[in-house]
Symmetry: C2
Subunit: 107 residues, 2 copies
């Protein structure tokens, strides 16, 4: 057991991944990425959960930096946070890119 901690990159990947770790949040991001932007109500409409829970999931995605929202009274407009979306994409792409594991290993 080493004393080494995790790298910043590993932490960041884990953070993004955690945000993606629930189907509702995957669905929200998928829905948002398909549009220029949309309101809370539109998101709520396509999900099988109550508005309180939707709001909570949106909060988590916001905390993870993957989305952002702004009040457009009396509604709230949400959209993808592009810079972090790009960051996440590249981190995951890089993470999955290299795999030296033998094809014959562990059969």
């Amino acid at each position: 057991m080493a004393k080494n901690d995790y790298t910043e990159q590993q932490r960041q990947i884990a953070l993004f991944a955690k945000a993606l770790g629930h189907p509702a949040r995957v669905a929200i991001l998928h829905f948002l990425a398909a549009q220029e932007s949309c309101f809370f109500g539109d998101i709520h409409e396509v999900l099988p959960i109550t508005k309180a829970t939707v709001s909570q999931h949106l909060k988590e995605l916001k905390n993870a930096g993957l989305i952002q929202g702004e009040i457009e009274a009396p509604k709230v407009r949400y959209c993808i946070n592009r810079p972090n979306w790009e960051l996440a994409r590249s981190l995951f792409a890089e993470f999955f890119s290299e795999c030296k594991t033998h094809k014959e290993c562990c059969e």
Copy 2:
């Protein structure tokens, strides 16, 4: 609030993402992907947690289908599950590929 459930793809992404949602598991996968294969002890050595916890994380990664292990007495050899690794890579790549959100949105 719709009655629609989540799609299989959304569930699968969430499953993989959940497995990646902890820095220790990210570190394990990163370590494994960099080698042809390795033993439990080698993994344990680079992590700041006890063997019991390492074993638990490996179990989760195995359940998610991202790794596999085989006994090579008295050790246990672990390695990446290539087919699912590829699946995860393509799912994440596809997921992050499209984002129609305006750059000017929500500023």
